[in-house]
């Protein structure tokens, strides 16, 4: 499985947050840095 390469555009994605709001990585482009945290699970 290919991993993301450094210093290349991060793959865009859209997910619906737990409140029902659609969130895309590209929403933050030009506005904020984004820290993506891939959590292993809460339990």
């Amino acid at each position: 499985m290919a991993k993301v390469k450094l210093n290349t555009p991060a793959p865009d994605f859209t997910l619906t947050d737990y409140t029902g709001r659609e969130v895309s990585l590209s929403d933050y482009k030009g506005k904020k840095h984004v820290l993506l945290v891939f959590n292993r699970g809460f339990m």
Binding site: M1, A2, K3, V4, K5, L6, N7, T8, P9, A10, P11, D12, F13, L15, T16, D17, Y18, T19, G20, V23, L25, S26, Y28, K29, G30, K31, K32, H33, V34, L35, L36, V37, F38, N39, R40, G41, F42
Partner: protein, 116 residues
């Protein structure tokens, strides 16, 4: 996650949004985020769409998926990534905020007005 919550302000001060993805469904996300008063954006990804897109290592055995973090700058470029090799293999907030400070410094250089 508790550590990240304590440190959220440090990211917010640095123009950095924290998006947390995980395999749980929206209901579990909601109860976890509400119970723990988490200020981040919580993105349920039960089909592992983004997890796969970003190539998170998937372990079939009982330890489950390993933690991973990716820092994306304002231009949308992946600038740092960390794939955990075990459950506690997570970079510290100090390391992450230092990286964000570097990104901020770069921006200031590239956007500062040039004297004619």
């Amino acid at each position: 996650m508790a550590q990240l919550r304590q440190d959220y302000e440090q990211f917010a001060e640095r123009d950095t949004e924290v998006l947390v993805m995980g395999p749980e469904d929206a209901k579990k996300f909601q109860s976890y985020f509400t119970d723990n008063n988490l200020p981040f954006t919580g993105l349920p990804d039960p089909k592992h769409r983004v997890l796969k897109l970003y190539g998170q290592e998937v372990k079939i055995f009982k330890l489950g998926r390993m933690p991973a973090q990716v820092l994306v700058d304002k231009a949308g470029m992946a600038r740092f990534m960390h794939y955990g090799h075990n459950m506690s293999d997570i970079p510290s907030t100090a390391e992450m905020t230092a990286l964000v400070d570097e990104l901020q410094a770069e921006l200031q250089v590239s956007t500062s007005p040039t004297t004619a």
